[in-house]
Amino acid sequence: MSSLIIKDILLIKRTILLGFIYMIFLVFAFQSLGSDAFISAVVALTYILLMTTLAYEEMNHSDIILNSLPIKRSNIVFSKYILTFIYSIISLLIYFIVVFVISTLNINVNVHYMNIMEIVWTLFYISVFSGIYLPIFFKFGYVKSKIFNVIVYVFIFSGASVISNIFLEDSKYFSVNSILKFFQNHTEFQISICLIGITLAIISVSYLISLYFYKNREF
Amino acid sequence: MNIIISNTSQEPIYAQIIRQIKQIILNGELTEGEILPSIRVLAKELQISVITTKRAYDELEKEGYIVTVQGKGTYVSTKNKELVKETKLKFIEEKLEEAVIAGKSIDLTLEEIQEMLKLFYEEV
């Protein structure tokens, strides 16, 4: 299975390099949005890396060759989830490098080093979008799931702020209050553990659904 | 061993092979006990199906021209001495008959024909 992951990374070496440019752009573009913006930037870059890979695979009809090789379909599915995680790490690294370079060069941009909590939130958001997107991808293939892409794209860029606004209307969403209370009453560490737990749960369920779809897929 | 296959002839390919191998054996080009190419090698060289070569060899074996030893290969059968002799005898008889008929047609006597035969036997 490591073969599969290496293959995907090899395929988008160029895109990863471009990622630095993307990140610089995103950092500049989002500076007014506060710290949430940087979460969005990392999520966005991860998303771009993943989509480029999937688009490329579809272009190459790689399903046909992958399924003619002695690989279990479960490994193909699993490798995409691992890949998403690796792309998250890569995006985070690019982010830190870009931020480091910008602050060292003393450019007048509002940058911000992410703390652990924000990294956890980033991984959480990535798990949410990939957790929803990947099963759709495995069921319908890249081309047909593009509609969902558009939704996610809009979602990321109008982003966290929209969600935050929804959450603040606590009149309807009384459960939101209890969530907020939860956040207030627990330490960052405990919240992080919770988020990680939820992330793993989302990914596990997503994996099982993807597996079911892909096992029954025809080419 | 030279075998030439025609793809356009109406004669089935296996029959062409049988005919040609028989000829080669009777000519003495392939001697007794000499090994023949395997059916697969023959098929590959002639670019034909191995089923064809197998069929040809099976037929030749049935008629006693060749013999297959399991694990070793296919050989020209030693019974061929008799076959070669028989075939040659037949050939000689035919030619002699022709000579006699031709001789008689120009009124040669038996002694004259025998003289000619003696001359040829000593010369060749």
């Binding site: 073969s3 290496i6 395929l11 060759i65 003619s68 090789l69 002695p70 | 296996y14 191995v50 089923i51």
Partner: protein
């Protein structure tokens, strides 16, 4: 010898096409040609064998094992060469090999290098820059390097020049010297199979029309060409099918059926090749 691939009553239904309960086998040591016009269902059959499509009914056994239950084990021993060789264009040959070789249990690096050199393929060239012939050879090298026992080829020669096609057939002849290997060669370019195929399966509109040794097929049938008068005097139901033109007709018929019927007629007989067989068997009265 042994059956390497067995297909029994295979069925697959699509909206406007069906593969109808087809059965055939590929024996060890032989090259089985799978022919038929475009749209006959050949690629569908191969996809079903490789479990790229799910069958609606029937059985597919490779090396005696069920093709779905033992999918990975089987694929370890199968070499495939497809029409569109779907290797990643952006990768080089050696990168592609590095990705593929760990997936196979029986990969032999020495064999790979030997063939790479023999076929003269540049290992640092990107796959998208290779000619079609080179891509096909690369597929073959991969198949040979993991010591495949069954070679499944789906239109491997389409788009190739005659020289490369001839090279491919030479390689197949060489492969089949090993009596334990089998080749399943699907194509609509029947001339490739005229010489080297051992068995032929003819598929048309989802059904098997002929399934026999190539020699029997080519020896049992003959093409008859004659004038229109001759056509009037004989029953055309004896013919597999007939092509009429302004000046006469051509038809395919079993050899034994022509005795006595044509002795006094003005006809020409010709030995058919596989393309003729395919044309006549898949078109009823070709000019209707």
């Amino acid at each position: 010898m042994g059956t390497i691939l067995e297909v029994k009553n295979l069925r697959k239904d699509f909206k406007d096409f069906s593969l109808k309960d087809i059965s055939f086998s590929v024996e060890k040591g032989f090259i089985t040609g799978f022919i038929g016009p475009n749209g006959a269902g050949k690629s569908t059959t191969i996809k079903l064998i490789m479990n790229l499509l799910k069958k609606d009914n029937g059985e597919i056994k490779i090396f005696g094992l069920d093709n779905v239950k033992n999918e990975v084990d089987i694929k370890n021993r199968i070499g495939f060469v497809y029409d569109e060789n779907h290797f990643y264009g952006e990768l080089t040959i050696s990168e592609m090999k590095k990705i593929i070789s760990p997936l196979y249990e029986n990969w032999e690096e020495d064999i790979y290098n030997k063939y790479l050199e023999k076929f003269n393929l540049p290992s640092n060239k990107k796959i998208k820059k290779l000619s079609k012939g080179m891509k096909m050879k690369f597929s073959l090298i991969i198949a040979l390097s993991h010591q495949a026992e069954l070679f499944i080829m789906d239109e491997p020669t389409s788009g190739l020049d005659p020289i490369v096609r001839s090279e491919l057939l030479d390689i197949l002849s060489y492969i089949i010297q090993d009596e334990n290997k089998g080749v399943f060669f699907s194509t609509h370019i029947t001339s490739d199979l005229d010489r080297i195929a051992d068995c032929i399966v003819l598929l048309n509109k989802g059904e098997i029309v002929l399934n026999d040794t190539k020699d029997d097929i080519l020896d049992d049938y003959t093409i008859i060409k004659g004038d229109k008068k001759t056509l009037q005097n004989i029953s055309d139901t004896d013919f597999i099918s007939i092509k009429e033109n302004k000046f006469g007709f051509e038809g395919l018929i079993r050899k034994e059926k022509i005795f006595n019927k044509f002795s006094k007629q003005n006809i020409v007989t010709e030995k058919p090749n596989l393309e003729d067989i395919m044309l006549y068997f898949t078109g009823r009265n070709l000019n209707e």
